[in-house]
Subunit: 341 residues, 2 copies
């Protein structure tokens, strides 16, 4: 199936594009009343993630309603630890909670390297979505970066400091590497299955990148991200590591195509550090969408001008916040799509 | 009362010191069994903060038990919003919760510029502690930076994103400046009262510095920090803005004496950006204290070598985590105190 709009893929590969493509992290989700209507009928978040027809439906919503240049499969990074053996529950107002955690060698008996078949609900959702998209825009697949997944598996929940997870890096580095290796192997197989099912581009989310000191980030995170992007070669790959300012040069030397910038990262500096060999993605402050549309338009243009001629995929610098007015998201998208340099 | 150990103050002012002084953020607190014994008898955290005799007792504990080169008055940054009119409760496992928040101009009627008399329990604690310290080491006073206080007053609790607080910056910048101005005025009066009561050095904590884009950080945070440090001239001042990598040059141009570095900040880069006109404070990874003492010793020495001849006050790069072994904290402290360049 040939893509009618392949701007995202061409931009990721550094090819010439007529205009900057745009999508929005968390575009399928609570900002849309149509999403909330689907969600309201269900027992919980996980039912949505695990039912391919429903995941497909909400994946398509932002394509239909917001006109983005890419869809991203509706799922969660925590499906990997669950497939590996650690079930989680999504608790309202609290986030994910794992009943079991990994804190010692003995806990390794709780987990295994997952097989993509254990996540067939995701690949089924991708297949279905590709069919429904019918070539309109590319479909993005994704996974969490191993360090971020590890952080949840050790901590057992979200945390401001993830000090339990970080404690393992200091006290039991070998255990950490074992678990990170298992997550990495699970993730590679999972992402390959996503590509086989039709994902056109893969993004890795390293949500907790920012809490590691540089040396630890290199040892316990970047090295595993490198392995994954080296193993995904059939489609372009994107690495988005929130808060990892000092890791940009590491990513610049990996085989990924695109590097995501969070809203706090300086565009000029990123261009300098990363060089012209990669595409940059981002990075409008998601809170800026709380402004009036005039401000959104002006600031979006300012952002585009800062990226200038550099290879660029427009996005926010973080997932869109749930209480954002969808019309403001639309304003952001349309400003990019009608921008003339 | 002359200080027997004034290393901290001399290091802050850039004077020659025989060795690097050291203290630890959150040194008075849950790491010490002696603290937990005091705390266990009380109704809650706030009783400790609001009872000068008890606050004094736990402030002295790390001086007696860990041998740090400075005491820091046991208190909380949230006493300011409370004195201004917004009461908070400290909920176990949840952190601070405010019943009332500031989201509109109408909410301004809930708050006023606080008078130091409304925080006499803090100044009383300082007076008592100075007496009990009897000149052994300096006593540090502190407050939250206005942006961080504002974030809690708007959000009403901790948050991963503080998107409600950040929304106000975009939607109601004038309201934000009004509230920030009131916090700043309250804080200046409060810190002056701390100095009058005997505080030997003042530290400002900008815990949520890292979530603001650079331009907003300049407008809504740094400008107010600047006002405060300009108004506190009788004692040295320290600014610690967690995650505010790009703000270091701003602080370098303020009248503060010391700039705190978090554990992720690169020492070499900080030295370069800040220059020799300021003292740097920090910045060992608090999680490193989970290692064995041999590693702690080696890494602490490595840190000291990186700071080299630069004006330096040793500390962690964040508050010590509650489950840290006090002997490991001691190892960190003693390594610094016995280090020969």
């Amino acid at each position: 199936m040939e893509l009618k709009n392949d701007l995202l893929l061409r931009a990721a590969k550094g090819e010439t594009v007529e205009r900057t493509p745009v999508w929005v992290m968390r575009q399928a989700g609570r900002i849309l009343p149509e999403y909330r209507a689907v969600r309201a009928k269900l027992s919980g978040f996980k039912e949505l993630v695990e039912t391919p027809e429903l995941a497909c439906e909400v994946t398509l919503q932002p394509v239909d309603l917001l006109g983005v240049d890419a869809a991203i499969i509706f799922s969660d990074i925590l499906v990997i630890p669950e497939a590996m053996g650690l079930e989680y529950q999504m608790i309202k107002g609290k986030g994910p909670i794992f009943e079991e955690t990994i804190r010692s060698e003995a806990d390794l008996s709780k987990i295994h390297v997952s097989h993509p078949d254990e996540l067939s609900y995701v690949t089924d959702a991708i297949r279905l979505t590709k069919k429904e998209l019918n070539g309109r825009v590319p479909l993005i697949g994704f996974a969490g970066a191993p360090w971020t997944i590890f952080a949840y598996m050790v901590e057992g929940s979200g945390s401001k400091t993830f000090s339990e997870a970080r404690k393992v890096l200091y006290q039991q580095p070998e255990l950490a590497h074992k678990v990170l290796g298992m997550i990495t192997d699970s993730t590679i197989a999972y992402l390959r299955a996503q590509v086989n099912a039709g994902a056109d581009l893969i993004q890795l989310f390293d949500s907790w990148a920012g809490i590691l000191p540089q040396e630890q980030y290199e040892e316990f995170s970047a090295s595993y991200i490198r392995k994954i992007v080296e193993q995904i070669q059939d489609v372009p790959t994107t690495v988005f590591a929130k808060g990892a300012y000092r890791a940009l040069p590491l990513f610049a030397n990996m085989s990924c195509n695109t590097i995501g910038l969070d809203w706090n990262m300086d565009i000029e500096n990123a261009k300098k550090v990363v060089g012209t060999g990669k595409t940059l993605q981002g990075n409008l402050d998601p809170c800026l969408l709380y402004s009036d549309t005039k401000t959104i338009e002006a600031e979006t243009k300012k952002m585009l001008q800062k990226f200038g001629d550099h290879r660029h995929i427009a996005n926010l610098g973080h997932g869109v916040y749930p209480d954002t007015n969808p019309d403001h998201v639309k304003c952001f998208i349309e400003t990019i799509q009608s921008f003339e340099k």
